[in-house]
Amino acid sequence: MGLSRYTRGTLARELVLILVAIVYCLPFYLLVAIALETTAQTFKTPLSFPWPPHFGNFSEAWSTGGDAGLGQALQASLVITLSSVAALVVLGSLCAYAIARRSGHLSPFVYMTFVLGIILPFQLAIIPLYVAMRQVGLVGNYVGMIVLNVGLLMPLTVFLYTGFIRSLPRDYEEAARVDGAGLLRTYARVVFPLLRPITGTVAVLLGVVVWNDFFIALVFLSGSRYQTLPVALYSFASAYVTQWNLIFAGVVISIAPILAFYVFAQRQLIRGFSGAVKG
């Protein structure tokens, strides 16, 4: 009825939506525009699109960013993010499975401990944490960063997985048990695949947190040859000179993988956020 007819109301709605879209796109425009400007342009005409565009910023940022170039930083970010998320998904879902399915008084207690972990700010414990991590040799390397990320984000992971598993019917697991599968097989072949929607959510949510993390990477990787992208970008800013065009070029490089991931996995992600298990 009204849907098929193009009325003035429809036009007004479309205009509003287009305006909103422009507002959303504005930061991206600024990001790309400034990334293509020369240093002089960034101060004189920062908002106008530079012509001719100055692509040299990208190669300069790539080679001079951080201590060893943005390539090294990109690699560090990828290794830390992928490993942390993978470990969080595997350990967090297993832990949540046990909490959600075990009866008895221990499970609610453990669950509450994890929920407390979400609420408490870890920065309170940063100094003893740093000292302890350094004593066991986990400062300035990948393993330390991954362990730290997994530890800090585990409460949220367990919280998200537990809620989802509790809503999952037990029939599948019971069927698997009667069918002759042991606990691990039941988990790996039946439960974990059913968790796909929440796994997608967890991976994206935590992936972005780890990828964008500045504070932990700055504290626990300083002085090492590993630097993540956010820390490497910070090298363009100093007390006296801040090279905005290089920072923006670096930001474009650093968000490119995530943007590509979003574009390719868009459909799965949306399904994950809104999804449930369909028999």
Binding site: S103, Y172, E174, A175, D179, R189, R196, G279
Partner: protein, 397 residues
């Protein structure tokens, strides 16, 4: 194949709910035992205890010659069909069927052979690559059956496997499952709340109520000789009419005073335990088919007179609901439970509660000329009456 024996099995849940009490049940090799009863009667709990999905609080369950009480489900060699099928949604039909075999680490070729044979047996050949969500209800049910069969287990456990299907499909699959079970000769425990399913499928039926076994035996025996009021009303549709009657002795013959009539009882009936109730009231059970149209061929039968309240035409027959001048026997708890199986009973309960008028159902010929509001006379087979003690509610035999 193996026999399943439950000895004094009880189940008490956390919080004290007693789901099953002191249940003794023996399921012979290759037999199809139907556990039937209203919801909450403990039938599914019994099945789950046998599968190993619930702990047994007291008693012992044996499968074959092993006591399985503390055995993990996967070591019991039973296969279960769930009410909602529990097909793994992320796996194809082939993988669903192969799952129990892979869990047992059978060789790949053997898995393929068995899955294909099972698929052929159940007509699933063309569906092997599909996911469960792309199947119809009937197909899903078949896959669930297939997943149980492919294992070649000692025992099948089926938990209301047909309750999610429409009536037509249910009737079809009822016959299929029963046929398949007979062909494979696998000992089967089948849970349902549908007495029709129980009657048509079971080698034997066990009727449960509030966790207590009421009666077990072959379907016909339960129908013809119900052990108590609950079984009498639960088995059979339309349900058995139950009226308060008075037993009177007249020399060697017993009479039953019912609905304002004095009905002489057959010598075989008089000779039994009923004699002890002379001068007392009993509950009299009448199956609707023993209460029918009065015609020339059974002119010698006893008669009851009543006003027709309403008539249900079923095509092959007519169900005539008459009001008789008698007191109905509808124990409140039986009414609540029977409501599960027969909603009509609950609907007519307020009227039936009047002590002097009882609504009874009679089966008439489809073409019998009888209409609502009329006074009608029905013929009664006094040799097929059932008598129950009013206090213990047990059959008097």
């Amino acid at each position: 194949m193996a026999q399943v024996v439950l000895s004094s099995v009880s189940k008490t849940f956390h919080g004290g709910t007693r789901a099953v009490s002191d249940l003794d049940l023996e399921i012979a090799n290759g037999e199809l035992m139907v556990l039937v009863g209203p919801s909450g009667c403990g039938k599914t709990t019994t099945l789950r205890m046998t599968a190993g999905l619930e702990d047994v609080t007291e008693g012992e369950i044996r499968i074959g010659d092993r006591v399985v009480n503390s055995l993990d489900p996967r070591r019991r060699d039973v296969a279960m069909v769930f009410q909602n099928y529990a097909l793994y949604p992320h796996m194809s039909v082939y993988d669903n069927l192969a799952f129990p075999l892979r869990a047992r680490r059978l060789p790949k070729a053997e898995i393929r052979r068995r899955v294909e044979r099972t698929a052929e047996l159940l007509g699933l050949g063309a569906l092997l690559k599909r996911k469960p969500r792309a199947l119809s209800g009937g197909q899903r049910q078949r896959v669930a059956m297939g997943r149980a069969i492919v294992r070649e287990p000692q025992v099948f456990l089926m938990d209301e496997p047909l309750s999610n299907l429409d009536a037509e499909l249910r009737a079809q699959l009822r016959a299929e499952i029963a046929g398949l079970q007979r062909e494979l000769e696998v000992t089967t425990m089948y849970v349902t709340h549908d007495q029709l399913e129980a009657m048509t499928m079971g080698t034997r039926i066990a009727v449960l109520r509030e966790g207590v076994l009421q009666q077990e035996g072959p379907p016909q025996q339960l129908y013809d000789e119900p052990g108590n009021v609950f079984v009498a009303r639960f088995i059979g549709s339309p349900t058995m009419n139950l009226l308060r009657g008075h037993i009177d002795r007249d020399g060697d013959t017993l009479h039953c005073i019912l609905g304002g009539e004095r009905l002489p009882l057959a010598a075989s009936v008089s000779a039994g335990a009923l004699g002890g109730y002379a001068g007392a009231d009993v509950a009299v059970g009448i199956r609707p088919e023993h209460l029918g149209e009065r015609s020339a061929e059974h002119g010698d039968r006893a008669r009851l007179r009543g006003r027709v309240r309403f008539v249900e035409l079923l095509g092959a027959e007519r169900l005539v609901h008459l009001e008789l001048p008698a007191e109905p026997v509808v124990p409140p708890e039986a009414l609540a439970s029977a409501g599960d199986a027969e909603e009509a009973d609950v609907e007519r309960s307020p009227r039936a509660a009047q002590p002097t008028a009882a609504l009874v159902t009679a089966r008439f010929d489809a073409h019998a000329g009888v209409d609502a509001g009329e006074l009608a006379e029905v013929a009664l087979r006094t040799d097929r009456l059932h008598f129950f003690d009013l206090t213990t509610r047990r059959a008097i035999r």
